[in-house]
Subunit: 310 residues, 2 copies
């Protein structure tokens, strides 16, 4: 069973009656005024990060950031969170305090509060589980894309993956490694987008994978024109210099936490008039699946994305 | 820094303004009708359970049960939860499916729903983090004990610790190992108690440790009369037979998830008239700390309880 099929298995075995449950970036429960969003993301040493590349400060920022982005992906405002932490012997003392002091700083940056949690020793690996609570007036799910919608993106992709690939080669260019280490969740943009879009997700596993999630949930097909995706000259140059596949990284690199959405052409015009920056990169069609074209040719993708069940 | 001091450090560095945060079994946030309770408990293979003793079914029941009990400890009704799971290679496939099928059965028993979460591979250890959401009309905290209150307990203690000690000796007596493996959270009792008591906690780390938490939060002292604690003849006999310290296990054994509370003498009379079963085992006094007496003599305790920071 692969990850998608296992999530389907869970969704059928565990229907959630009090709200929208498994399958979106956050769960949605109706409250008195609007909706409560709750999301939970797990980070495990050796799977999601390597303590030889990541400082305690960076791990705290990343753990918080990926959860903030899951609330942003639904058009919500993060409010407070619960922290589950398993720390191995090598993380006790100074590193643990640095982790928490960084967490405190990030809380101030993003205006969220630590509300509780559980700390435990762990035999081997650092394990972090954050449950983030937020609110939304217009929570946006993945399953609302309609044929004829335009596909939009809030900012460039691939930068985090370039940072990671460079770190693997022993090269640390702060602009790119910073994108990998310090997620930059688009909370304010997500709230504005939520008033106009039909579906939304944050790009955590790669543009094509996450577009595929929207299309699979919505029962539609997504077609991207690679030429419309913003790619900086600097990133092209860095990829040439270090022999990285820029097209592959832009389309399949994970963890940029850009927002990906679909919007009607009418609402796209209204959203453009607000002055907010976004890029239209494709179109929703009848059918299923996703593809990217470049100068009219299909782009062949080698990296299918990450699957914890493989 | 020990665990208590670290929690104090966190409480001072991370004040929670939207509700009652770090320091109780669950966090409390005011909602339209009553209060929302949220709690998070982490279970790690090799720290909280051993996969050679615990089946996937038992691990699921335990992970859910400890979190249900944290809501019960505040007088709340659990409603839904989020699951963070890191599974090592040896847990993929059949064991993971057994875990989830048991979780589904437990959800039906306790009338709670899985609302979302995150699954991930894990390099070495099984790691489970559950965030449970509930509601309460009268959330009861730890810090309300007053000098002159009586100390009450919902049911016997020590059975789970007896089960664990027997398992360590290779002896499996289902009545006791079951108490260790299948937590039995006292949700309905907790809700009734919540209308009458001044403070409450569930006994997860041992009667004296958890009583100490109430007293420390309340700024009072707790004195237990060991002779008033219910201890079954069978448990005394089993402890004699297997050379276990019954007094020590009753006073310091963890994970019985009995409810421990303090109540005014007036309310104790009213609560007794409801017919609900509970035992008065001591009294709250001025001062600080906790102690247990038996036939007028101080009981010397050897086991100080579990501290993840040691």
């Amino acid at each position: 069973m692969d990850e998608n099929r296992f999530v389907e298995f869970l969704r059928s075995e565990f229907p959630f009656k009090k709200g929208s449950g498994i399958g979106d970036d956050s769960s949605i429960v109706k409250i008195d005024k609007g909706f409560q969003l709750i999301t939970k993301d797990v980070l495990i040493e050796g799977v999601h990060f390597d303590t030889s590349w990541f400082s305690p400060e960076e791990i705290a920022a990343r753990a918080l950031g990926v959860n903030l982005s899951d609330i942003a992906a639904m058009g919500g405002r993060p409010e407070y969170f619960f922290l589950g932490l398993g720390f191995p012997g090598h993380y006790k003392g100074e590193k643990l305090e640095r982790f928490f002091m960084s967490l405190k700083k990030e809380c101030q940056i993003w205006d969220v509060e630590l509300a509780g949690g559980d700390l435990s020793a762990s035999p081997d690996n650092l394990f972090i589980s954050i449950t983030m609570v937020g609110t939304a007036e217009n929570p946006v799910r993945r399953d609302g894309a309609l044929s004829g919608d335009l596909i939009g993106i809030s900012r460039a992709t691939g930068g985090s993956a370039v940072g990671l690939e460079l770190l693997k080669k022993g090269v640390d260019i702060p602009f790119y490694s910073g994108k990998h280490k310090y997620p930059d969740p688009e909370i304010d943009k997500g709230i504005i987008f939520s008033k106009y879009v039909n579906s939304m997700i944050d790009i955590s596993d790669g543009l094509m994978i996450d577009l595929g999630r929207i299309m699979s949930a919505s029962g539609s097909a997504g077609c991207i024109d690679y030429g419309n995706i913003p790619v900086s000259d600097d990133m092209k140059e860095v990829c040439r210099k270090y022999d990285l596949d820029v097209t592959g990284l832009v389309l399949t690199g994970g963890e940029d936490f850009s927002l990906l959405f679909t919007i009607t052409p009418e609402n796209q015009k209204i959203l453009a008039q607000t002055g907010i920056v976004f890029y239209i990169i494709g179109e929703v069609k009848d059918g299923f699946g996703v593809r990217a074209e470049h100068n009219g040719e299909l782009v062949q993708l080698m990296v299918p994305g990450f699957d914890h069940f493989r």
